[in-house]
Symmetry: C2
Subunit: 445 residues, 2 copies
Amino acid sequence: MNPDIIVVGAGLAGLTAARRLTQAGRRVRVLEARERVGGRTQTLNLPQTGLSVDVGGQWVGPNQPHVMALIHELGLEVYPTHDEGQNIALLGGKTLHYRGLIPPLSPLVLADYALLSHKFEALVRSIPLEAPWTAPDAAELDAQTFDTWIGKHARRPQTRALMRLYAGAVFSADPAEMSMLHALTYTAHGGGINGHTLTRGHALQDRVLGGAGGISQRLADDLEDVQLNSPVIRVEQDGQGVTLHTPDGTHRAAHVVFAVPPTLLSGLPFHPPLPARRAQLQQRLPMGAVIKFMAVYERPFWREAGLSGMAISDVGPVTVTFDNSPPQGSPGVLLGFIEGHAARDLMDVGEDQRWEAALGSLARLFGDEALTPIETVQRDWTAEPFSGGCYGALFGPGVWTGYGEALRTPVGRIHWAGAETARVWMNYMDGAVESGERVAAELLG
Amino acid sequence: MNPDIIVVGAGLAGLTAARRLTQAGRRVRVLEARERVGGRTQTLNLPQTGLSVDVGGQWVGPNQPHVMALIHELGLEVYPTHDEGQNIALLGGKTLHYRGLIPPLSPLVLADYALLSHKFEALVRSIPLEAPWTAPDAAELDAQTFDTWIGKHARRPQTRALMRLYAGAVFSADPAEMSMLHALTYTAHGGGINGHTLTRGHALQDRVLGGAGGISQRLADDLEDVQLNSPVIRVEQDGQGVTLHTPDGTHRAAHVVFAVPPTLLSGLPFHPPLPARRAQLQQRLPMGAVIKFMAVYERPFWREAGLSGMAISDVGPVTVTFDNSPPQGSPGVLLGFIEGHAARDLMDVGEDQRWEAALGSLARLFGDEALTPIETVQRDWTAEPFSGGCYGALFGPGVWTGYGEALRTPVGRIHWAGAETARVWMNYMDGAVESGERVAAELLG
């Protein structure tokens, strides 16, 4: 018997959509290209220490209602990100230890940063989350890069460095790679800079006990028809339904939901062809570049030195670190991110060279003890063909204003979900869940 | 028997590569997704007047040695673009009639434009054609949009309007949609602004007798193994060769050349996966947006009024026109281009509304006689799934510097051709031919 609805993509968005549609009595099939569910989230058990680690998305916060509600619905638990102790900022050749939000830079730099972030946040508040192309001055904001805006408004190099670190940490990209309208829209989706970057009360507050990959696993366990290793290679839509071709056969349903990064659809043949605006949108949403890596130590030695494990650095390749130890605090785990141009610099080198560079960064921040982990793991998301990169799509200049309207607009019986289509917290786990619930409501409405 | 080499894409690039490889004794198969050869060139015979018209690429010039040599090699002929009479410029609400290069704007505007174009051309000359990411200040030029640069250097609105018209006519995009480094690189590929925009001695000098589609047709006629309706849906590479899957079967050869717009490869499954830099490059090369349309009249009535048929207008949707009449001058044909945001504005409307808007533009320039053509034809290239848009790919901010090195670098036995990979005249017919010859040399070397 044919399903009523086929969902393509067994990440958080697709599985959430499938759950809501199933709960409403629809017969749903999920087709997943990979040999696993979870998309841009994945929990691995490390072979040596047996530790469960998230090599993909991992954080959730109380300002993210969709994913928090789903976690509780599934009977999963969260625990707080370790953030006690002093943070480190390595900026302009100086290492600063500090508590709180902002490194103790010179008063001139702090004043400059305060002024710039005040201007930025005022613009952020002017963005309609669901339709940034209708913002005041949308055309002007979308005709320049975030880098251009920073260059115009930051008077001190350290201010520029802080904004670059923000772009790297939050967009996994350089400020040159996105439009200013996108920088504002994305920031607005998290309620401002702090919403994205802080722990207590914000997006980095909590982690999922057992790993964030468990959310997708539980969602999939509750569904009856999830087919792995089933990449869609051709789509045919007619007046009665949609037929999807995979290498092993065909699947047909009255409606289809695509819950994958839009760039992966760019070369996929649709019959009839997609409308021009939708087709060209898909060409214009490249994915960010990020390598996530973790080093495991017998104990979290930095805590003994009074450090939180959280650091920012304007010396690459690692620019942001966290204490990613399990709740019991042992073993100790340092988490580092390599983003944007730094990730590109390491795209073409071997794993050994990448490790050397990453551990060198950790040692610069936390001392030589960081050079001898007992176990390590890394994931270069740019090399994952069924993600294309992480955390999500970047909107370059002209894309929101020229193509934004096509982002969620169904094409006949084909509907669009996925973290990129979220109306809040786009490209986050929360946005993925929101998009799944939105598309389910669209189909049930 | 398996071919030695398979070429994917029967546009000018792929067919040129196949010709050169065949001439060198290789067994070559060409796989083409469409039911025709020619790619972004196509010559149609209009049903009513029987006129042959190019709905795709049409111009060649003496500054384009690769395509000119191929045209002569194939025994085809060219004839001059009609450019006699006065040109029209509709700018800032005023209609100007003039001869020569530059409309007779006020001295203040002319001085401003002269200064700006002098600065622009000086930067153009600093760009290494084959490696723009090594240009002086490449990082800074690639971190801003062309629009940002224009806004900074143009003091008069008419100067900005002229640069916008240049972007539309030459890139089929708005200045906001591309990086400044790309605007310079692309301009440098044609030897400067005039190389791209003028007739005698430049890129618009000549047209191909019988239509530019005839080049690809003759190339294909000389080849033994061109298979139409064969879209590639999966690629497998191993130590001995490459296997290509199409809906009807598999094809295998020692080497493969892809000669298609890179964006069409973004969702195509490659096994093993492409290197990250190549994969992310393919996500970052969206196609321009252009609708080409022609209106046929009993006679070229504008010539009788002393007009050349060439016009520029800052009032859309048509912003550039030409006299596209056949060599004998009858019937009369006006050619209009709708580009960038103007093409997007007409993406979602019906053909009738599009025609009304286009003919309205012609009438504004050439009088009411333009409203009653005897035959019309239009082609919205953004709606062509196997092109994805025209004239070619746009490089947004950060793409040349972050990913340019991957543009032509082979991945094992897979080589890259196509107008986007050209080392000169990228995105033009000349660049397509150059890329085909370059990739053939790569495989024969």
